[in-house]
Subunit: 114 residues, 2 copies
């Protein structure tokens, strides 16, 4: 299970461009850079409550898009299958070295890192 | 390059749930089931022009979401890398049979078929 921070980060990666500039700034500062509500409020010269409300609304929108489109769920399911493929390939490479399979492994690992 | 029908189908697969019920019905009939504008008009008891306008607006919205989010582009890039991995694995399997690599191959091929 993802914790809420990781989940919002993932939703933001998929749907962040549907938010307003201000919502994006606040989500990035709070969820990606781990600033507190107070720190964001100070930086933007707004109240802590205003930051809270804007973040709340942004989260609701991100969850709404996921509820509609389910693209993060689909992505995670696919990632889980690809991790399985990578693990099988790694097992194979331990027993039987192969330049070409190693190359396939690197491409796959690159995708899984994104 | 995808032709327009394939592209709209792909965009619809990702963003279709953001459209209205009527838009979705018309996109499915026109782009997925290949009915003509006239046939859809007849089935719904509306003019051919109305079908055309609703489809046009639906397409614009699908392209708008892609312009904002770019998730279909990202998906296609990843599919292209996975096809490369599959092709390497297939080459390897031709020279060196392996139950486990075959299993990895099947998972990968399943993902690419989706």
């Amino acid at each position: 299970m993802l914790d809420k921070f990781d989940l919002v980060n993932l939703l933001y990666d998929f749907y962040g461009q549907m938010l307003t500039d201000r919502q994006r700034s606040f989500v990035e500062l709070y969820y990606c850079q781990n600033l507190s509500l107070g720190e964001i409020a100070e930086e933007y010269g707004v109240t802590r409550q205003a930051v809270h409300d804007i973040l709340k609304r942004a989260e609701q929108q991100l969850f709404h898009y996921e509820e509609k489109l389910g693209l993060v769920r689909r992505h995670r399911e696919e990632r889980s299958l690809l991790a399985k493929v990578l693990s099988i390939i790694d097992g194979h490479l331990e027993r039987c070295s192969s330049e070409e399979v190693l190359r396939a492994r690197e491409i796959l690992a690159g995708i899984l890192k994104q």
